[in-house]
Amino acid sequence: MDHHAPIVYDLFGISGFHINLSNIIMLTISALIVFCIGFFSARSLKMKPTGMQNGFEWIIDFVKNTINSAMDWKTGERFFGLGITIFLWIFISNMLGIPFMIVNHETHELWWKSPTADPVITMTFAVMVIVLTHYYGIKIKGAKEYGKGFFKPIPYLFPLKVLEEFTNTLTLGMRLFGNLYAKEILLTLLATAGGASLLGALAAGLPMIAWQAFSIFIGAIQAFIFLMLTMVYLAHKVADDH
């Protein structure tokens, strides 16, 4: 029950530079899966799409529509790559922890899990997104307009506007982490109960299936919300008026 992350402390002898091997592995696996999905979808492109190409085109349209709902396509087109990558990667990462979980029983190290159930990873994504919004805000509207944005609509809201940037970052990362972490915890609980005894297996079987189904739903919804909020934050910084 009490699992630890397989952390390697002080990598390359650098003090304070630790890595979580589980996250590294799981992120790599999910990135590989995302790449494979994309790669094999684009393997034999046809004018009349079939099979996987159809599916990937649907995903493209889906991301496009999400961007379109936040801003016009002319400004939003440059964020398409960011959107589709972040959406697919988070979605696949969310899904990875659902079917099973690999734990080293001797060291209680948790190896196979959703990497998005780790706050460091989700906060990394969140900070990256917020930094990108500022970057594109300055790039597209210019530093002056970008600065003015903090004093709109009323100048004395400036402190709140600054605070908002931090809360946005925190909520964006923590929402994803919280949902996925809760999913992992409950799955671990149910799996432990199911593995403990025959009675436990009988009792936990049905809730397990239900929770796994719900986890798929949570994973999809959270990936979508992350994409949506990314685009909304970008739109706030990039759009001329809203």
Partner: protein, 163 residues
């Protein structure tokens, strides 16, 4: 919750994100989006072509309709002309036949009257001859000198009266 922040993961995930983004653009959505754009253009072109063909077809249809109309008019006029010609020809033939008949009738009448006159003349001649013969016969038998004298006298007189 983690006891320490593992910065290695932060750097790794950011790097992985960039790599994944680039790879996806190169191999996945880049080509697919291109294909989608191509398809859009293709469809737009096809729609244009279809529209053009439709207009062409309509134009041809209109032309054909006019052509048929013209052909019908022409046929009508040809029939009309033919009828007129035939009527005129018929009338001509009838008139010709009538005049021919008239001519034939006149000829026949002329022939008949000529024949009649000829016959009458011939008859008169023969009657004259015959009467002279008869008269000769009678005169040979019955005429005496005196009576002959008287008869001559009468003839002369008669002839004198006629003259």
């Amino acid at each position: 919750m983690p006891d320490v922040i593992y910065w290695g993961d932060v750097i790794f995930s950011l790097g992985m994100f960039i790599i994944l983004l680039l790879l996806l653009r190169k191999f996945a959505w880049g080509p697919i989006v291109n294909m989608m754009k191509e398809r859009e253009e293709h469809i737009a072109k096809e729609i244009d072509t279809a529209e053009k063909s439709r207009q062409d077809a309509e134009k041809y249809l209109e032309e054909q309709r006019k052509e048929v109309e013209r052909a019908r008019d022409e046929a009508q006029s040809i029939i009309e002309t033919a009828r007129k010609t035939s009527e005129k020809q018929g009338e001509d033939i009838v008139a010709q036949a009538r005049s021919e008949a008239e001519r034939l009738k006149e000829n026949a009448l002329a022939d008949i009257s000529r024949e009649k006159e000829q016959a009458v003349a011939e008859l008169r001649e023969q009657v004259g001859t015959l009467s002279v013969m008869i008269a000769t016969k009678i005169i040979e038998k019955e005429l005496d000198e005196k009576e002959q004298e008287k008869l001559i006298e009468e003839y002369i007189q008669e002839a004198g009266e006629r003259l």
